[in-house]
Amino acid sequence: MSEALRLEFNVAGNNFISAGSASDEVKKTLKMLGIGAQFIRKVAIAMYEGEINMVIHAGGGRAIVDIFPEKIKIVLQDEGPGIPDIELAMKEGYSTATDNIRDLGFGAGMGLPNMKKYTDEFLIESEVGVGTTVTMVVNFI
């Protein structure tokens, strides 16, 4: 495996206007690198959902993205409230989002299942009161 291209982003919490800009940067970079459109779509959706989650649930966080020739690894770290029951959180339709968030078009309980669906590797590590780390890998081959 050759050396990765690393991109790092601070995702601002509760800033609904800038939410998605990190995903946008990653999408642009992959396009520039000539990665296939079908892979870019998967990465864009998974990372965007993750970014939105950090903004609405965790007060922001950090995204560390390593791009290899054959895959991309995205690590999303936050110091938010944590997820008490990951299995429950993974269920389609389950959401702890408030009506306020639903008014913004999110909180349908599709975020985490979507992230899993569009990635080849998906791992959530979470501790209540400490934070959550989501690791996702999308293979380009």
């Binding site: 779509r41 965007y48 599709m110």
Partner: protein, 117 residues
């Protein structure tokens, strides 16, 4: 169907993408929930929505959607227009409600593209 035909059929106001009128749109989807767009939409070039915030544009961009119709006469904010201009996404606004806007376009040949339910 070309974007300029959509503008005509929906009697829409063009807020962004005046130059995209000739672009061909082959299928469409409609939702106020961006999570649903991200979960269920495949290769659709038009998004019809009653939601009016920057995440509508971001979602469209992530899904490679090239044209957004805001229904119920909603006008995009300056933030929305800035992102759309940068991404080359057309924003139209129509007085039609969601159901009617969908009906008009469908009746004129713009299919859903997910008709295998």
């Amino acid at each position: 169907m070309k974007i300029k035909e959509i503008v005509k059929l929906l009697n829409a106001k063009v807020y962004c993408g005046e130059d995209l009128g000739e672009m061909e749109i082959h299928s469409a989807c409609a939702s106020d929930m961006m999570s649903d767009v991200l979960a269920f939409v495949k290769d659709q070039a038009l998004l019809i929505s009653g939601l009016c915030n920057p995440q509508v544009i971001r979602t469209a961009d992530m899904m490679d959607i090239k044209c957004i119709v805001l229904v119920r006469g909603k006008a995009p904010t300056a933030d929305m227009m800035a992102i759309a201009e940068q991404k080359g996404i057309a924003i139209l606004s129509s007085e039609y409600r969601m159901y009617s806007a969908c009906g008009v376009l469908y009746a004129n040949g713009l299919i859903a593209g997910d008709a295998t339910v």
